[in-house]
């Protein structure tokens, strides 16, 4: 748009990959985990380069939104829009998106984390 070369390189016009959309179809926490099946990866081949990369990463192992943003070098907000689309389209399954509510549920999680830390 007639502007000088931006030193931020690949962060120029980052929302181009979402065709300008900045609002995700649903809110996805930064630590929410996403998983893709093999079939989803095949289907994501036709969903565009970035979505395909995301599907491949999530098929190899469960990845958080934060990891997907870091590994694809997409800004967090851009990754969130793409991931929300992919969840809506059935390409990714979203885990752990709802915060734990209630005493027992929260305490169970804390106990599991504590025992996991002690085993490190």
């Amino acid at each position: 748009m007639g502007q000088p070369q931006d030193p931020r390189g690949n962060l120029v016009r980052p929302y181009a990959v979402t065709r300008g959309r900045t609002e995700p179809r649903r809110d996805i926490p930064i630590e929410a985990v996403l998983v893709a099946s093999q079939a989803a990866v095949q289907e994501a081949r036709f969903a565009g380069h970035d979505k395909y990369r995301i599907a491949v990463l999530c098929e190899a192992k469960p990845q958080s939104l934060a990891e997907l943003s870091a590994l694809t070098r997409l800004p967090l907000g851009v990754a969130r829009v793409l991931v929300a689309d992919m969840v809506a389209d059935g390409l990714l399954s979203l885990h752990s998106a709802a915060p734990k509510k209630g005493f027992t549920e929260r305490m169970d999680l804390l106990e599991r984390v504590l025992s996991g830390l002690r085993k490190l």
Partner: protein
């Protein structure tokens, strides 16, 4: 519970739970070092965009013409079981990025505020932040080589840390030491939860 309805995505029948612990503190206090000491991956960096006005996180395109800047957050991962992953997030060091902290602490198990005894005043702002948030936190003194050694009580008094907030010494480079910090965070979160449940404890920290 929150699966996409499609079968294509349903290959993993088990719900995976992720938890996160936030590591806060001033710029250069050793947050990424701490994360790296226990993470199974090299700490990764995710970047969020914001306008120069400090508004509209990740929403730069909504404000055409405004300069955007990036906020970097480092994080690590500990896979505890095939259905449980713990993430450790370092907060952006600069205070002007605090709105980003709000996203980081949402749903977190708890937080550790890392303090460098050579620049103790840097801890005021992060501590102030957690005083006003509903999130269990502890204070960890990062014992740098050549840093002045203080008694924990001296630091507690200097920083006006409330008595119910645990204060520990640590070495952010050492795995065992960092493990101990994280164990403290979780134990404190459990104690806070139990106290809230029984109603005899101020629910909002501070």
């Amino acid at each position: 519970m929150d699966f996409a309805s499609s079968e294509r995505a349903g290959a993993q029948p088990k719900e995976i739970t992720s938890a996160k612990i936030v590591v806060a503190g001033g710029f250069g206090v050793g947050k990424t070092t701490l994360v790296g000491a226990v993470s199974e991956i090299e700490p990764l960096t995710t970047e969020a965009l914001m306008t120069s006005a400090g508004q509209g996180v990740d929403d730069a395109s909504k404000v055409p013409g405004k300069e955007t800047t990036t906020v970097a957050m480092d994080f690590g991962r500990i896979t505890m079981a095939d259905d449980l992953i713990l993430y450790l997030f370092g907060t952006p060091g600069q205070t002007r990025f605090w709105f980003m902290w709000d996203e980081l602490i949402r749903g977190a198990v708890g937080a550790a505020v890392l303090v460098d005894t050579r620049r103790i005043a840097d801890a005021f702002a992060p501590l102030d932040y957690f005083e006003n948030r509903h999130l269990p936190y502890i204070v960890a003194l990062n014992c740098f080589d050549n840093a002045p050694r203080y008694e924990p009580d001296e630091v507690r008094e200097a920083l006006a840390i409330p008595p119910h907030v645990p204060l520990v010494m640590c070495d952010a480079r050492h795995r065992e030491s960092v493990k101990a910090v994280l164990v403290q965070v979780v134990e404190h979160a459990m104690a806070t939860l139990v106290a809230e449940q029984s109603g005899g404890y101020p629910a909002v920290v501070g």
